[in-house]
Subunit: 152 residues, 2 copies
Amino acid sequence: MTRADASLRAFTGYRLRRTTTSAMSRMHTAFAAFGLRRTTYSTLSIVIAKPGQRQGQVAAALSIERPNFVQIVDELEKSGLISREKAPDDKRAYALHATSRGKQLYEEATVAVRSCEDMLTEGLTAQQLDDLHHVLDVIAKNANKKDSQDDI
Amino acid sequence: MTRADASLRAFTGYRLRRTTTSAMSRMHTAFAAFGLRRTTYSTLSIVIAKPGQRQGQVAAALSIERPNFVQIVDELEKSGLISREKAPDDKRAYALHATSRGKQLYEEATVAVRSCEDMLTEGLTAQQLDDLHHVLDVIAKNANKKDSQDDI
DNA sequence: TATTGTTATACTCTATAACTATA
DNA sequence: TATAGTTATAGAGTATAACAATA
């Protein structure tokens, strides 16, 4: 039984993408149960971990372009999970803070997300996951490296 | 220096997605140089590896919904890289074949794709890549597993 | 001049319902 | 009735140009 995509499976990139798509599809279900999307959950996580950060800083931490981040913050604000507060030192900027409801929803959602993670990584040892994380970091660093072509 | 996304980085899913996004962004550049996208390159690969497969079979091999696959085949056909040929045994179906130009472009593009892969996996041993592929397969299998919730 | 947040826009990928022509 | 390919449509994520207010 030869898979039709056998030649594609020689590529790490192909495997990475197929696996990630399947995993994110599962995660989507976990997020949706709390009225969240992947992007809003991630944003909530950062805002709770680092309260008072500006919109642009949070967007940068998630590698989301600022224009695309506006509606994510809008959605979380309208849901009452975070608040935009005028930065005292810069009238252009907003500092983001999670509401108590936002913090509570985050805790509840995180239980479901962890449960989904456990399902996804079932059968793998802690060592295998550590190795996976390290290898992914190497690939990410390579991918984000500026190369000679970009310098032209 | 604590990263703002430190808590998210505890999740394998988060690392998988961030790494894959960066890697696919690099791959996109490689594909674009040949007038291809990720989906059209993958399709070309399958059609060359298994000539005469029907549209639906190729779509299924790539886990692309058939409605979304129509425009991918359209694009490849208009570019003269593959052809739709009426299946002799089923007047509803099309068998896909690569043109000689499609085969040649595929070979050229694959050189660039391999080069991109080599850049992405630089610093990793063959053993580490084998392990990565295995771990990704485990996660993909877990993600695609039907669980009790789906049976309700 | 440069930066923060914003609007507008466009493109890719994904997902589902419904149609047609066959089977 | 079921299936192959198709059309239409919608949602999510991503990317860039340009603007107003402020630095």
